[in-house]
Each structure stands twice: as C-alpha cells, then as structure tokens.
Symmetry: C2
Subunit: 99 residues, 2 copies
C-alpha cells in the first residue's frame, strides 16, 4: 500500500474549514482515480508536541497508482480546492510496511 | 478504528536509530494487548514543509481497547524502550472515519 498523508494545521477559522472540508473537499477526493481507501481523523496529542488539526490518509495500491492519480485532472481539482482551505498543510507519501 | 500515531523526527544517528527501532522496538510493539494492526513508513515530503523521519501507526478496535493497552505492562515496556531511541517524537490519537 502506498499512502498520501495530508496533515492540516489548526485553521484560522475551524468552523469554516470544517464546513468547506467535509461538504466540498471530501466529495472531490472520492473522484481521484485509483484511490483504494481514505480515512480522516481529528487527533489529540499524547505527551509533548502538537497534533495536526486534521489528518487525511489516501491509500493507493502502489507508487505507480499514486503517480497516475497525481497526474489526473481529478487530483488537479482536489489540489486547487485544497489551496482555498483556510489552513496550512504538510503532505508526505510513503510505502507502508506491516509490523 | 482508533489509532495511535507516532511520528519520529530525523534521528541524530539514523543508522543507530534504524537498527534499534526495527530489531528491538518493533518486536516489543507486537506484544501490546489489543493491537489489531501496525504499519510503518519512512515518508517523503510533497511540497513545502518537512516529513517525519518515520511514522508508526498502531490500530485498536476502539478507544477502550486503546486505553486498556496504554495501561498494560507491555505498553509500559514499549514506552520505556521508545525513550531510549535517539530521536524526538510526537504522538497523537484519534478515531478514524472513512471517506
């Protein structure tokens, strides 16, 4: 499994972020070709440090499926929409291995 | 699903970290009661920002299973071992929802 993780910072306006994120952005994500599973969570930190405000994980079969998705017009629309969300984000990708 | 995420910073000595992590820490994690799945990845950042050096995700059926695990002697041993790893970490927990 190859995963794209998107971690959002605390928004300037959480209520506006949540409305736009869940009513507009999440439905757009469902159109991404090759997407096998998606999860969302609003975590709480355990111990020192800071948790992201929201974590989205988009899973693909392998890196080739992910690269094809990244080149798709659907992902282009998702990225353009994400840029209008009122929160910074960090994205990273990686191959998952089981424990 | 209720998830504990552990994100490690870049270690002062990555080779030492990797050896201790995969040969000592990961086998300890397998003993945690109620643990349903574990994944590890060494991600790469996409765009601006910094990716964690290593991400571990420990999944439990629900928050009660997680709380029971946190109170177990096995998790105590895992936490004590993690404190000897040569890298800082941030941990957070959250209920996962599907997209």
């Amino acid at each position: 499994m190859f995963r794209l993780t998107v971690q959002y910072d605390v928004p300037s306006d959480p209520a506006t972020f949540d409305t736009q994120y869940f009513s507009q952005h999440v439905p757009l994500c469902a159109s991404i070709p090759g997407l096998q599973a998606t999860t969302f969570s609003k975590p709480r930190v355990v111990g020192p440090g800071t948790a992201p405000y929201l974590v989205a994980e988009l899973d693909f079969e392998d890196v080739d499926s992910f690269k094809a998705a990244m080149a798709s017009p659907e992902m282009g629309a998702v990225a353009a929409d994400a840029d209008t969300l009122p929160a910074g984000r960090v994205m990273f990708t990686g191959q998952l291995s089981d424990g």
